[in-house]
Symmetry: C2
Subunit: 321 residues, 2 copies
């Protein structure tokens, strides 16, 4: 089965790794978190997905590289350079080589493919766009660049609004369009719907490309029991006037997804989500380890096949208790 | 005493460290070895001098940083990137920050000052020029970029000629000119006369700036007993038609230096060097440890003062046995 997954950082990368284990996968990744540090182009979500698919991700943090050291960062700190974003020595190699290639004129899609090839990643990791897009977080402290909000200030600011600077000039790459055309299932991974999948879906033409695929489209809720599995998605949804719940996320994807995957603890929201015109799969939606990823990926793909195959008729594999 | 030293890499850096310990020092450093690797601007001689003055140099190699790791390099190698030039993790920080500042439009002199400030280096480390100059080694295998010859191919090629690409557009910086104006002694460190001090002296206007200082100028031979203390200077001198001896080096500095420092083993060349119009100091010219650096620096400065003070009359401090 040819699968297209949309992903941001850690949560999305985990499900992508599960999907990659069983299917021909293209992951369309948020690049609106990208920023420049020390003159280097850093792509946090692309790297999290790439490292996770390569089996190199740091199991404790979910981001960065396992068995990492921070000697270059310490030296940069000695020089008085910016040290708030913790780039490790192995990770630094990625940013150096990416930046070199970008400066030579290669596109981010081409560069990412080369880096993935170097790490033996067989799935396609596709930036949502080769154009530069930057998430700006509007807060009581003023406009914040995304990584300033997310890492620099530890997500402590209330999010009053989110803008994607440059989004009007972005477009889905040919590679994303081609992957969508061939897709037999589209999976929205359990990433932050506002700042991870939000920018991907806001790229002009992206929704048309995905809808044009005709493939069943399913999303996995990143909110379980009213809390984000990781990160600030719950508070962000609430402060932006959405409901911090699986149902609240489902509403954001209304019209786009055919099926929605929620955790057992949220079974009470099932009917409301179905009322949005979605099939619902109730299962264990939290991935604690690698077997969890594979299990959830398989369930999600079976669910997608069912949603696509019978127009929404419920079958015995739904996992609902 | 205000001292201007001209230096290349390891040997020059050692004497510079000795000079820095006792005097107000400006080191004019060869930048014709500079090159780009992974899109980063690498300045091997500037870094060797800076790390040595900062007490951070690797005592085993003379270049690079002590207690170094190579995790980024290993990762770059995994990606299939160039790994022939061994940049360590701490060293990498230097190149990243230098490159960032250069791309912002700062000159190499300004960038070097900022890096030195970060490492607590109080002496002034001055690139010979802010313009880009590149040493090209002509060999039986064709023209080689300097680091390709020096590191990539391990100095195995016969050197048939040396060119400094871009030298015609280079000029001494204002900082070099100012340091020379104030100098009370100029010291040519025991660096390779062809590819380390050669480019510095080949910068149009550099000899005039140094001669215009009116300060006594002394050189320390990098050749002892017919062999380079470190590096390929002996073979390079021979293949370029010079004599691989202290005398051979002295001839290259004829007209520029007032005094020449040779090792005891080369005492037999003393008269020939004096015949070039130079005073000669015979001493232990090889620096094996830090006390050696300080001792040689003190002897060199006393020698310079004497050469400048009495027009060449020999005194009891010459060290000759």
């Amino acid at each position: 089965m040819k699968v297209v997954a949309l992903a941001g950082g850690v949560g999305g990368a985990k499900l992508a790794a599960g999907l990659a284990a069983c299917e021909e996968l293209s992951v369309v990744v948020n690049t609106a978190d990208d920023f420049e540090l020390w003159g280097l182009h850093v792509s946090p979500d692309l790297d999290t997905v790439m490292y996770t698919l390569a089996g190199l991700a740091n199991p404790e943090t979910g981001w960065g590289v396992r068995d990492e050291t921070f000697r270059a960062l310490e030296m940069i700190s000695t020089y008085g350079g910016e040290a708030w974003f913790r780039i490790g020595d192995r990770d630094l190699a990625t940013h150096v080589l990416r930046t070199e290639r970008l400066r030579r004129g290669e596109g981010l899609t081409e560069v990412t493919a080369a880096l993935c090839a170097g790490l033996g990643v067989e799935s396609r990791v596709l930036p949502m766009s080769d154009e530069s897009v930057a998430t700006v977080v509007e807060s009581p402290a003023g406009d914040l660049e995304f990584q300033e909000y997310f890492v620099g200030r530890g997500q402590r600011d209330e999010v009053l609004g989110v803008r994607f600077r440059g989004i009007e000039d972005a477009r889905p790459t040919d590679e994303v369009a081609a992957a969508a055309r061939e897709a037999e299932a589209v999976v929205l991974c359990p990433s932050n719907p506002v700042v991870s999948l939000g920018p991907i879906l806001a790229v002009p033409g992206m929704r048309e490309v995905l809808e044009g695929s005709g493939a069943p489209t399913v999303a996995v809720s990143p909110i379980v029991g009213g809390r984000a599995i990781k990160g600030p998605a719950d508070r962000m949804l609430a402060s932006l006037g959405h409901e911090a719940s699986a149902r609240g996320v489902a509403r954001l994807y209304e019209g786009l997804v055919d099926g929605f995957v929620i955790d057992r603890v949220d079974v009470g929201e099932k009917k409301d989500i179905e009322a949005l015109g979605m099939e619902v799969l109730v299962t264990e939606a939290v991935m604690r380890d690698e077997p969890d990823r594979a299990r959830l990926a398989e369930e999600v793909l079976r669910f997608a096949a069912r949603v696509g195959g019978n127009g929404g008729e419920r079958g015995p594999g739904s996992g609902e208790q």
